[in-house]
């Protein structure tokens, strides 16, 4: 250990727990609480099983086989949730895996060739996403925080709009039921204390269901079938099969990119929720999170189901309820397995009345949008970044609003443009690439040993101000340079690509008779994101530092 007795405290293990959390990341809630929280999150993610049912119907899969698809889907989701919550294997945050609407348009297109084609292409998308995970970290400048925030906001809008559509399908009584679900969730989420806040989403759904029973809205047609189904049973594997069609490759790969960004945002939100002193994204957790998400989609494809992703609705509920313990992931996975082996329960859950599901989706959509804006708030906004967010957001909202523009597009492009998230992220990547053209900045500062350190630091500070570098990066750089700039420091190279600041500090060879003292790197090692030291043949050395924005 370089500094005996003083441990480094900059990793996520040392994050500062926010006061608002009831069950923090490493807490172990009591068994009953755990079971209830697990059920709540399962209930939040369960409506997405309707996506699987929708795709099965489009692929001409009969009801019995569709139940098998649902069961295998839940088993894949249970495994993925367990791995995702593991600190060693996954992101280490409580993130529930769910079937995702991101893959819906691509899957519906592929469903015309049958379910095996959907599964085969889902498998390909999952493998691509797993590879994309490492690329995402290396090429992070193409996916800056503003694009992550944008993708989260669009997901929130999509969830909210789906919710509004579902609750408005039953006319005024449906609006009342959905409104009651939403209102009760908000009241308990905002004003509730202790366990009342923990179960805000469940309480909202329960109240919404009670109101629903009084309205006389006709129930889902298949709800009664649930009671005649077996309570427990092994799922049928008759549907398993894989086929591939290159014609659907592009929409699936694009959906995988969007899914990666969404997971990137989900991990980022979790890091923020769990750390009151959050400063910057944890790229290792993000990489593992995206990797596990890709493997989850791969597994889902192998199991004969559709694409999966991190449930941002569940993350939103964690935030609202103040329960972010990763142990809850085990409870969610257990519930998933129970329901996977229980056709009756699965049926019952997926046939929750539309207005109740709608009200809950509006609630979680609002939370997800708020989380997206929180991330956006950490980005130092300038015209370039505003452009990266504003135009794609406009296009995404136009897509959600079914603007006539999209009907006029050529048929070959339509699958790409069918999802607001896909089109929004695609537009953001293009705008970012275009507006970043020539944006990379470089500067070399000659360090005159005669000048006081404070003056040299101010010179660097002026350069960083001019480049609109985030405040937290400037602070970390100042502290690092204050520590490293000594009489041997001869030149400083700065390079900023809009996302990462690279610093190269050249230090002259020590004088022959100089006493060798260890480099002071107490802060440099702790506040930089990467640090390397290279000695040259002439005795001089270069310290390379990297700061992620």
């Amino acid at each position: 250990m370089m500094f005996p007795g003083i441990r480094r405290g900059s990793d996520s293990l040392m994050a500062r727990r926010p006061d608002s959390l009831i069950h923090g990341l490493d807490d172990k809630p009591r068994a009953l609480t755990l079971a209830a929280l697990g059920l709540q999150h399962f209930m939040v993610a369960a409506p997405n099983l309707a996506i699987v049912v929708m795709i099965c119907r489009a692929a001409g899969v009969d009801a019995a086989a569709a139940e098998g698809v649902l069961s295998f889907s839940l088993i894949a989701l249970a495994i993925a949730t367990l791995v995702q919550c593991s600190r060693r294997l996954g992101s280490g945050y409580f993130i529930v895996s769910c079937n995702s609407g991101i893959y819906l348009s691509a899957s519906l297109a592929a469903a015309t060739g049958g379910l095996p084609v959907v599964c085969g292409m889902t498998l390909v998308a999952g493998i691509f996403q797993a590879f994309f995970a490492s690329l995402l970290v290396r090429a992070r400048r193409f996916f800056p925080n503003e694009i992550v925030a944008l993708s989260i906001i669009i997901v929130g809008i999509e969830i909210g709009v789906i919710g509004l559509n579902r609750l408005s399908g039953a006319g005024v009584p449906g609006l009342v039921v959905g409104g009651a679900t939403f209102f009760v969730s908000v009241v308990f989420g905002v004003f509730g204390r202790g366990r009342w806040r923990l179960y805000c989403s469940l309480l909202g759904m329960a109240c919404g269901y009670l109101v629903y029973l009084t309205t006389g809205i006709p129930g889902p047609s298949s709800a009664s079938d649930a009671f005649s189904s077996a309570l427990f049973g092994l799922p049928s594997s008759a549907h398993l099969g894989l086929e591939f069609d290159v014609g659907y490759l592009l929409p699936f790969l694009f959906a995988a990119v969007a899914a990666s960004l969404k997971t990137m945002g989900a991990v980022d939100i979790c890091a923020r929720i769990n750390d009151a002193a959050w400063v910057r994204p944890e790229m290792h957790a993000i990489r593992r999170g995206v990797l596990v998400d890709g493997l989850s989609t791969t597994l889902s494809g192998l199991f004969g189901s559709t694409g999966t992703n991190s449930s941002t609705s569940s993350v939103g509920v964690s935030h609202a309820s103040g329960a972010t313990s990763r142990v809850i992931g085990i409870a969610v996975a257990a519930w998933m397995l129970v329901f996977a082996l229980s056709p009756a329960f699965t049926h019952l859950v997926v046939t929750l009345p539309d207005p109740v599901v709608g009200g809950m989706l509006v609630f979680t959509g609002c939370l997800v949008i708020a989380n997206g804006f929180q991330i956006l708030g950490t980005v130092p906004m300038d015209m370039r970044r505003a452009g990266v967010v504003a135009f794609p957001l406009l296009v995404a909202i136009a897509r959600v609003a079914n603007a006539p523009l999209f009907a006029q597009l050529p048929d070959s492009v339509k699958p790409l443009m069918s999802s607001a998230l896909a089109i929004g992220v695609f537009a953001a990547l293009l705008v970012n690439a275009f507006l970043s053209w020539g944006n990379a900045r470089q500067a070399t500062v000659a360090l005159d040993p005669g000048h006081p350190v404070g003056e040299r630091l101010r010179q660097v500070r002026r350069i960083l101000d001019e480049w609109n570098v985030a405040h937290n990066v400037k602070v970390r750089v100042m502290l690092t340079l204050r520590e490293l700039l000594d009489e041997r420091a001869s030149s400083l190279k700065l390079a900023f690509n809009g996302c990462t600041l690279h610093i190269g500090l050249t230090r002259a060879a020590p004088a022959q008779d100089a006493q060798t003292t260890p480099d002071g790197r107490f802060f440099a090692d702790r506040v930089s994101d990467a640090m390397a030291h290279r000695k040259r043949a002439d005795g001089s050395s270069v310290i390379s530092l990297c700061f992620e924005q």
């Binding site: 007795g5 040392m14 937290n472 502290l479 802060f523």
Partner: protein, 128 residues
């Protein structure tokens, strides 16, 4: 984002002195956090007030503890304490610097204090 964590390896075996040392690490983390969130001004003044108390109360406690043990290094230790007092006084007098620049300087002082004095001199004084 705490950048330093106190560990039992730094312990002198005297609860009150250990608590003082932990307080110093807390101050270091607090100043750094405040800088990150652009709240240097309030944190700096709070930290300087804490350290002002520290150099009177803690140093006196530590010297009394060493005196009670007839420690041979007491004189050198007193000199180090005096040097740290001077450093702090110098920092308080740096009125030409911005609060953020003074915060950086304060962190450097705390670092030296932590690495030079607490992690070495104090630990040596506590014996094997």
């Amino acid at each position: 984002m705490p950048i330093a964590i106190w560990t039992p390896a730094l312990s002198l075996g005297v609860d009150s002195l250990d608590a003082d040392h932990q307080k110093l690490i807390d101050t270091l983390n607090m100043v750094f956090d405040a800088m990150l969130f652009d709240r240097s001004s309030a944190a700096l003044h709070s930290a300087l007030a804490t350290l002002d108390d520290y150099v009177t109360g803690h140093f006196a406690r530590e010297e009394a503890w060493m005196q009670a043990r007839d420690h041979p290094d007491l004189a050198r230790h007193r000199q180090e304490h005096e040097a740290l007092r001077d450093q702090l006084a110098l920092l308080c007098a740096m009125s030409d610097l911005s609060d953020q620049e003074r915060s950086v300087e304060l962190l450097m002082v705390l670092r030296d204090w932590l690495l030079g004095h607490i992690a070495h001199s104090d630990r040596d004084a506590s014996g094997p």
